[in-house]
Amino acid sequence: MHDMPFIYNFPFFSILLTLIGGMSMPFFRNGRVAQKINMGIIIAVGVMNFILFCNLVSTGEHFTYMMGHFPAPWGNEIRGGPFEALMATVFAFVMGFAILGGVFNIYEDVPKKKQYLYFLMMNLLLSSMIALIYTNDMFTAYVFIEINTLAACAIVMSKDSGETIVATIRYLIMSLLGSGLFLMGLALLYNITGHLLMESLQPVILQMAESEQYYLPLTVVFAVTTLGLCVKSALYPFHSWLPGAHGSATSSSSAILSGLVLKGYIILLMKMMYRVYTPELLAKLHITDAIFVLGIIGMIMGSIHALRERHIKRMTAYSSVAQIGYIFMGIGLNSEVGMMAASFHILSHAITKPMLFLAAGGLANVSGHSYEFKDLKGAAHRNKIAGVAFVIGALSMIGIPLFAGFPSKLFFSTGALHSDYFRMPLVLIALAVSTALNALYYLPVCINIWRMKDEPGHGHGHGSDDHSASHGGEPEAVHAVHAEALGHGSISHAVSHGAAAVADAGHADSGGHELLHDTDGAHEMHHGKTGITPAFVVSMVVFIASNFGLGIFYGPVMDAIRKGLELL
């Protein structure tokens, strides 16, 4: 087909560009040069995939791209469609701004001579995730899963404190367990069917499913591959490595790990569900029920674990476990709406969670690098944009309308209404309980970071805390005005800031710029720099805007996902 439009080369270009970017990094041993190259590559990949996505959504077709001179079953092949292009665009967008937001912490945490290695690992991570999204061959998926595992472990441990190395070894061992299981399933699948390409696997599997006696091997093979991917994407019972790894890494590493790396494996699982095992066969073999039950348990238990944490990043990491439970519950709903809700939640979580992690990093920067709640008391007043971003991220996680979290919860419940009598009550109860639990552990933190730091003898300041802050914004703003006026800083500044915390994004943007020069250094800062660099503010503002954008204009995104899933 000589008339292949030029943009069909984009997936191939983005994979090769990131790989070559990663390979050429050792020549630029200076951290800042490496960061600029990395950012350039991420922007190029994001733009390419966005153009591909717009084109594919309008034309509504998918394409296969031959890697090499030989067609599919002989040579390798990547397959693009609106769903994959959308995911690749969001992955590149989120990775770019997550690195931009956390760049201050990267230069602080990673030893100076190894910063270029950090950005090298970021390039390889992006290339492996995009390859996982686009690949059409199971063994290529296994090879790029290995690159993903190694690069993810490398960015966790590049912070070089004892705690990260312990977290890395646990993360590595659990991940290798998962990819060992995935490879075992792949080997058995190859033994039984004789194919590795996703397209040619499906007819053989369906034809084998007709003959009843093949049910056991098919069930075991699907269960083992799905179990391997569940272990790698930290579904509830296999999540023990996640809080350590995501809690101790630098803020941009944990943002990318939580937001993107976990989702790469889920997207591969979705592609295998649609192209290899067809959802109907999976439902008949009850694997979707197993995923559904694990998702439900994950939703609730993840939030319960998060309640017990007193460390802001570990709490956010546990809430990632809960959100992964949401996604798997969506997949387990075994219906078109459920799958759409799950993929929308992948997007909304991929946008909200990095914002939470970066905001947590920003708050910790201004309160002596401690992530404990008692040290973060009133930290938001020192780093206002991080405080605003954390509050918006928390509200979006709880699922308050106007934010990114709400449409996915809306579609989860509509998906539940469509499903059968066994799933509907479970989903609705689990949604309600989990949302309440989310509120129970996010709101106190928001209140805590926005409380005024009560100096001794400033007794009456406690007054406002007694009544439970059902809607955190309102009383808090009034209190902030009162305390701010008494403390330091002008009333106008306090009012505009207080209002920004509650009002819509537009106002917050202007509030954001105003905060830029508001480095009120009245606090005991261990070192002069407070980490509120322009890059940090820009990335926070962009995350907030995209959160609102996704929350308000979820209609077109949902149509694109529906079209993508049909063509998957």
């Binding site: 000589h2 080369n9 191939f12 090769l16 790989l19 070559i20 990663g22 390979m23 050792p26 031959m66 090499g68 030989f70 079953p73 002989w74 040579g75 390798n76 030893p111 100076k112 001579k113 190894k114 290695l117 950090y118 690992m121 390889l124 290339s127 492996s128 390859a131 061959d137 063994f139 290529t140 090879v143 290995e146 690159i147 190694l150 690069a151 472990c153 490398a154 441990m157 058995l188 190859y190 033994n191 004789g194 194919h195 093949y214 056991l216 091997p217 075991v220 083992v224 709640f373 008391k377 106190p444 209140i447 805590n448 409380r451 001794p456 406690h462 805390d465 007694d466 439970s468 802050a469």
Partner: protein, 321 residues
């Protein structure tokens, strides 16, 4: 007595404000059981008699870990045995070993064998398959090696300006070892290394160059060359290998061969997907300079694997290459 009371005063107001559990929790003050100041205890304190806090039987971490292990180990053993029994049972459904009418002997493998020579020019069909038919996997493969050596470098490489990695004790031990290996060298190792290592390196180069004709190829040849370099470095002390193989040489060889490997593959993928002939002749089957890209690719993969293996060795022993 009064100032002690005073100190209780402030801590008391601190706790007074947070008797309401929700607010105590919001303020993230110490969890209630750490501050058991109930009303009557405060009265007792004001009355001045001493107050003894009842010691809760604290389960030490080791105790809890041991109890968890006692439950975890048998459960894990039972689970594994059940999983293995299930997999053995599934193996019965797979076709018998060595049969001919097996689903894996389908048209894909027939084409590899029959058209392998014509398409790739490599008489070793496996090498032809790795470096031409399914070249994307091998590109991923080399970047797995590259990722591994770079992450080991993050972990173990000692940079001079005193990062966490190098501590004086280890440097002293290393220097002592170096001194020992210089003064009274291990005669057996040195003479044997002197005799064997040229043949090992020569054999490795042979395996890499003949990758597309005889079995072997980039991976095994590179590993043999890497093992040969390790033998030389072990036999003659690292100072000698440092002359021709230091960190700059390592990065140049690894990155350049990886980049040229990726460039060649880029070219062949792009021309392949657009059905443009690459214009590289396949040459006479069986000759060394045959089979298009496979020979240069084999050389690059051999270089990458050799440098990576030797890089692992020197990072592990000396902390820098």
């Amino acid at each position: 007595m009064s100032e002690k009371h005073e100190s209780h005063e402030t801590s008391e107001t601190e706790y007074k404000g947070s008797k309401n559990p929700f607010v105590a929790w919001v303020n993230a003050d110490p969890t209630p059981e750490e501050a058991p100041w109930t009303e009557e205890k405060l009265e007792a304190l004001r009355a001045g008699e001493t107050y003894v806090r009842e010691e809760k039987p604290v389960i030490t971490e080791e105790e809890r870990a041991r109890r968890f292990n006692k439950v975890y180990k048998p459960l894990a053993v039972v689970l594994c045995c059940a999983f293995i029994a299930l997999l053995v049972f599934v193996c019965l459904y797979t076709p018998p070993f060595g049969a001919t009418d097996v689903p894996t002997n389908n048209e894909v493998s027939f084409k590899y064998i029959e058209d392998g020579l014509a398409d790739t020019g490599a008489t070793n069909v496996v090498a032809g398959m790795i470096l031409d038919y399914r070249a994307f996997d091998t590109l991923g493969e080399s970047s797995v090696l590259f990722t591994a050596v770079m992450s080991v470098m993050i972990l173990l490489r000692k940079d001079r300006d005193g990062s966490l990695v190098n501590d004086p004790a280890e440097d002293a031990a290393l220097a002592k070892e170096e001194k020992i290996s210089v003064q009274h060298r291990d005669v057996i190792l040195r003479t044997m290394a002197g005799i064997i290592s040229p043949f090992v390196i020569l054999f490795g180069i042979y395996v890499v160059l003949n990758g597309h004709i005889s079995p072997g190829g980039g991976f095994s040849g590179g590993a043999i060359i890497g093992a040969g370099l390790i033998l030389i470095s072990q036999g003659f002390g690292s100072a000698k290998t440092k002359k021709f193989f230091n960190f700059k040489v390592f990065t140049i060889i690894t990155s350049c061969s990886l980049l040229s490997y990726a460039a060649l593959k880029c070219y062949s993928f792009y021309t392949g997907s657009h059905h443009i002939e690459t214009g590289i002749p396949h040459g006479i089957p069986g000759a060394i300079l045959s089979s298009g890209f496979i020979l240069p690719l084999n050389i690059f993969v051999g270089l990458i694997v050799a440098c990576t293996m030797f890089g692992f060795y020197s990072l592990f022993t000396k902390g820098e290459i």
